[in-house]
């Protein structure tokens, strides 16, 4: 039996903390008895009870910390003692870490210095907080979803009266004055101003603009319902007016699902009246009739490329040429045609929808939990069939759990379940980088890719795994490293969702 007694003079710790720490230490493997406490009479009695005595115990005062350990081995006692110090130290650190910048309510924060309220509280309470923020003169970035449509309208009308922007609800991304809000990529400043109704759609456009060497002034999010009839595009119109006035903005962009007809008309006529050229991407629409001021893009990559061409005054190319795609497809397939089905698991809802559109245009039926065509809607989001793409950021999957952009690991069980299906030949997924996103999303998915590869090998099957990597070179996760990790695990990595969808179409049609 090994014993140890340590008395630390004048070291005060909370007795409640010490009591629970004593219990934890007593449970350690190899520890028979433990007492950690201030040397009060009561605690000294406890120390005596487990066999310690002498002047060191008797002389200790209630200002001294006493650690008494009885263990089965020297190492066990060492370990326990080390753990005690570690825990007491981390407790002390946790207490000092709470700085003055934590407030208990919006009313307490020194809002005279602040311009924007970023709100990501549960949807049921979000409108109330947003209203309070607007009343205090703050622009609102409202990440929360599940906010009723009538609340959204009321908030936006209040913002309109006060001259304040309401970005959201369900707004994933914005870049205001160079500061990324929500999930946002680190992109260069430049002359393209964006209004976007979609978070990941905006992120895809931002990173391609950055990659092509251009930059943005402001990227204003609106939330997915802004261009609906009920809301009437309040935030979109306010944002476009702001970009029109903004001197640094040379090119305007609008990204959204197809809007309500009246709202569409309002947005387009505002753009026509403006002094600056504009690129519009109403996803799902094949494009539109270009005018002198307004050009239509058929997908996110194309929209970004068009905006960069206008901004830089010279024509830019798509990220991957036809020949490059040919090579990528050939290498991915490696000689044998792929006969299995596609299973796509997205964290970014807009990217999922874009893939559905592109594959639909290529004549492929793809089932989904967010399909626009009712006949392609999955009856059960848990059960894939034939070609399927799932938006795992959809309410169904995120209720009571974080969004897969925060925790990409939430997709992994499903990913491997799909990999085990004998009729699956292609797995497709997105990895989204940026501030606010997971610190190492590629690292998490790479493990899944490797495991899926093992499963396919054991089953003697061919499995192509394609990753869409949405990231900018300035992102905190390190774009190059993330790409390498995915490639090393065996995935084909593309920087554009459009390109990835095209690759899928090529492989399936081959």
């Amino acid at each position: 039996m090994f014993t140890r007694l340590v008395v630390k003079a004048n070291t005060y710790h909370d007795s409640v903390v010490l009591m629970s720490l004593t219990r934890e230490i007593q449970r350690l493997a190899g520890i028979r008895e433990a007492q950690v406490g201030m040397a009060t009479d009561l605690n000294k009695e406890g120390v005596r009870k487990i066999g310690f005595s002498g002047p060191e115990v008797e002389g200790a005062t209630p200002n001294d910390l006493v650690i008494a350990l009885v263990g089965e081995s020297e190492e066990a006692v060492d370990e326990a003692e080390k753990l005690i110090y570690l825990k007491l130290e981390s407790k002390a650190r946790a207490q000092t870490a709470q700085g003055e910048t934590l407030y208990n309510s919006l009313a307490e924060a020194p809002i005279q210095e602040a311009g924007i309220a970023a709100i990501s509280v549960p949807g049921a309470y979000a409108a109330r907080e947003a209203r309070n923020a607007l009343k205090r003169g703050l622009h609102v970035f409202l990440f929360s979803d599940n906010v009723p449509l009538e609340d959204e309208l009321a908030l936006k009308q209040l913002g309109q009266r006060e001259g304040l922007l309401v970005m959201g609800p369900d707004c994933g991304t914005a870049v205001i004055g160079g500061l990324g809000l929500g999930f946002a990529n680190k992109v260069k400043r430049g002359c393209i101003g964006i209004v976007a109704a979609s978070g990941t759609g905006l992120q895809q456009v931002l990173v391609i603009i950055d990659r092509l060497g251009e930059g943005v002034t402001e990227a204003i999010g609106t939330g997915g319902r802004d261009l609906r009839k009920e809301v009437g595009g309040i935030t979109t119109l306010m944002g476009l007016e702001l970009l029109e006035r903004d001197e640094r903005t040379m090119v305007k962009m609008v990204i959204s699902k197809p809007p309500d007809a009246d709202v569409r008309e309002k947005v387009l006529s505002l753009l026509e009246q403006g002094s600056k050229p504009a690129v519009v991407c109403f996803m799902g629409e094949a494009g539109g009739k270009d005018t002198e001021k307004v050009r239509f893009a058929g997908n996110l990559e194309e929209a970004a490329v068009m905006a960069c061409s206008l901004a830089g005054g010279r024509a830019r190319q798509r990220l991957y040429s036809g020949e490059e795609m040919e090579v990528v497809a050939r290498e991915a397939v490696d000689g044998e045609p792929v006969t299995g089905h596609l299973r796509g698991l997205y964290g970014g809802g807009t990217l999922c929808e874009e893939t559905l559109c592109i594959l639909g245009r290529a004549g492929l039926e793809v089932y989904s939990n967010v399909a626009w065509k009712p006949e392609c809607l999955l009856a059960d989001p848990e059960e894939s069939r034939a070609h399927t793409c799932i938006d795992m950021g959809d309410d169904y999957f995120t209720r009571g759990r974080p969004h897969p952009m925060l925790e990409p690991g939430l997709r992994v069980p499903r990913y491997l379940a799909e990999a085990r299906e004998p009729d699956v030949g292609i797995l497709l997924f997105d990895v989204v980088l940026g501030y606010g996103c997971h610190p190492d999303p590629a690292g998490v998915m790479a493990e899944a890719v490797r495991e899926a590869g093992n499963i396919a090998r054991r089953g003697g099957r061919k499995l192509v795994q394609i990753a869409v990597l949405v990231g900018a070179s300035g992102d905190p996760q390190s774009l190059g490293q993330q790409e390498k990790v995915l490639r090393d695990a065996g995935a084909v990595v593309l920087s554009s969702n459009y390109a990835a969808a095209e690759l899928v179409a090529r492989i399936l049609r081959a």
Binding site: L106, P110, V121, P122, G137, E241
Partner: protein, 469 residues
């Protein structure tokens, strides 16, 4: 078409919700004010609606200003001592006062029952414990809360007609508050002890201590308790669980006059020794001071200020300035704290006593940052003590003009609990308190931290909305 104003927005961002986003904005170099967001009103939709109806109401704000003004301008002075039955208003024959909201014998906890038995023996209304119990449960004795008689009592808070009491007068508004004299620690009536030793001490207090002190106080022309409390806060007291400095200051204030009382030196010496040897003697002066100030603020129509928080060992009750005499109650809570040698959680009675009047007045737990050594007594760390006091600013109407905390840069203590803010933030008032043994007569077994039950505030808000929304 509307133009966006306030553009470009000011640099700082207020973050409500995910701390991941707060962290990532900081990583980009932004200054972020992070609100530790909790669902308002514990997420209860109906209460949130009521809160919204009571928010930004100029009439309510005005009423609260008035109540606060009355609280701030109150000036409690110890003006003398008297016999409870003679001086306390509404004290009827065969009546006993007790701590907390109203209660009947059958629902009383151990220490309160013990104190009732002790008081019946002390008054000579019963000769033995058995007789006292029979009398106590027989329906003949009338029980009434101290608070309904401008009085307060620590722990069991039992007051019987012949006990001596301090008389504290609010010189500004003229209202008075009353409290018994502190008996010291160990086996004492307020913890439900009723042995011969306890009763003898009570008799000595009535026969010697009270007359001597009364004379000295009169000779001194009264003692300014408000300034004494303000000084004590700068000397490490929060005048609920730590009264060491205030007791010393009190002794300093009356000692010169004791010698002039003309009582035998022996009595004067015992009086001084008794007061001087009891660190908590001043508690029974800080409590009526707080009561005198808060009673001045009570009864302002439309005011949401909480003017009473108290416990009887079974229930916790509050009163609100704008809601008159109505009690709002919930179950008395378990105190989390440190126990004296040989006692554990199992021995503890639920929260008891009128002493939380100090917290109601912005002292006690609300001023814990002034009394950092107290953590060795009630548990927690120095950082906790500062944190508790700081957090109370989120639920109060103002910072005290009279009581300040050195370590917070002489910031006034959080004062005037706003019913609306408690419900909105879900932050409950922080109370420092002693822990009584659940059995009568054992005494204090520890000290610790406790909060009121949430129900009190929820019920009060609903009643307030019914009346004024």
């Amino acid at each position: 078409m509307t133009t966006v104003k306030h553009w470009p927005p000011k640099g700082a961002v207020v973050n409500l919700g995910s701390s991941v986003f707060a962290g990532s904005m900081r990583a980009q170099g932004a200054s972020v004010y992070e609100v530790k967001w909790q669902p308002p009103a514990q997420g209860k939709v109906k209460l949130i609606e009521l809160l919204d109806r009571l928010a930004e109401r100029e009439d309510i704000d005005e009423a609260n200003r008035l109540a606060l003004e009355r609280y701030n301008s109150a000036r409690p002075m110890l003006v003398g001592l008297g016999t409870a039955g003679d001086v306390i208003p509404g004290f009827r024959a065969r009546m006993l006062l007790h701590a907390g909201p109203p209660i009947t014998w059958d629902r009383m906890s151990g220490p309160l029952r013990g104190a009732v038995i002790g008081a019946l023996l002390y008054e000579g209304w019963a000769e033995s414990r058995e007789e006292a119990e029979k009398l106590a449960s027989g329906g003949e004795i009338e029980y009434s809360p101290c608070h309904e008689h401008s009085s307060v009592g620590p722990m069991a808070g039992v007051v019987s007609p012949s006990m001596p009491v301090f008389i504290v007068e609010n010189k500004t508004h003229g209202n008075r508050a009353y409290c018994t004299l502190n008996e010291g620690l160990g086996k004492v009536l307020r913890y439900g002890a009723y042995s011969q030793e306890v009763l003898e001490r009570l008799r000595w207090m009535a026969d010697v201590l009270a007359p001597v002190l009364k004379k000295a106080v009169e000779l001194a022309g009264g003692v300014d308790l408000k300034s004494l409390i303000a000084q004590a806060l700068h000397m490490g007291d929060e005048v609920h669980n730590r009264n060491r400095a205030a007791t010393s200051l009190f002794v300093r204030a009356i000692a010169p006059y004791l010698l002039d009382t003309g009582y035998p030196l022996r009595d004067i010496r015992r009086t001084l020794e008794f007061v001087n040897s009891n660190d908590h003697f001043f508690l029974n002066l800080s409590m009526p001071s707080c009561k005198a100030m808060l009673e001045a603020a009570h009864g302002v129509p439309k005011s949401t200020m909480v003017t009473v928080m108290t416990r009887n060992g079974t229930e916790f009750g509050i009163k609100v300035s704008g809601l008159g005499d109505e009690w709002f109650t919930g179950p008395a809570q378990r105190v989390k704290g440190l126990y004296f040698l040989g006692f554990t959680d199992d021995d503890a009675n639920p929260d008891i006593g009128d002493s939380s009047i100090t917290e109601t007045a912005g002292l006690g737990g609300f001023a814990m940052a002034a009394a950092i050594p107290i953590v060795q007594f009630v548990g927690g760390t120095p950082e906790d003590a500062v944190g508790f006091s700081r957090r109370m600013y989120s639920i109060t109407l103002q910072e005290s003009k009279s009581f300040t905390i050195p370590v917070l840069g002489f910031r006034g203590t959080a004062t005037g609990i706003d019913l609306r803010k408690v419900v909105e933030t879900g932050i409950l008032p922080q109370i420092n308190t002693g822990i009584a043994h659940k059995d009568p007569g054992v005494g204090q077994v520890g000290a610790g931290l406790v909060n009121p039950p949430w129900e009190c505030f929820e019920k009060a808000l609903v009643a307030f909305a019914e009346k004024y929304a």
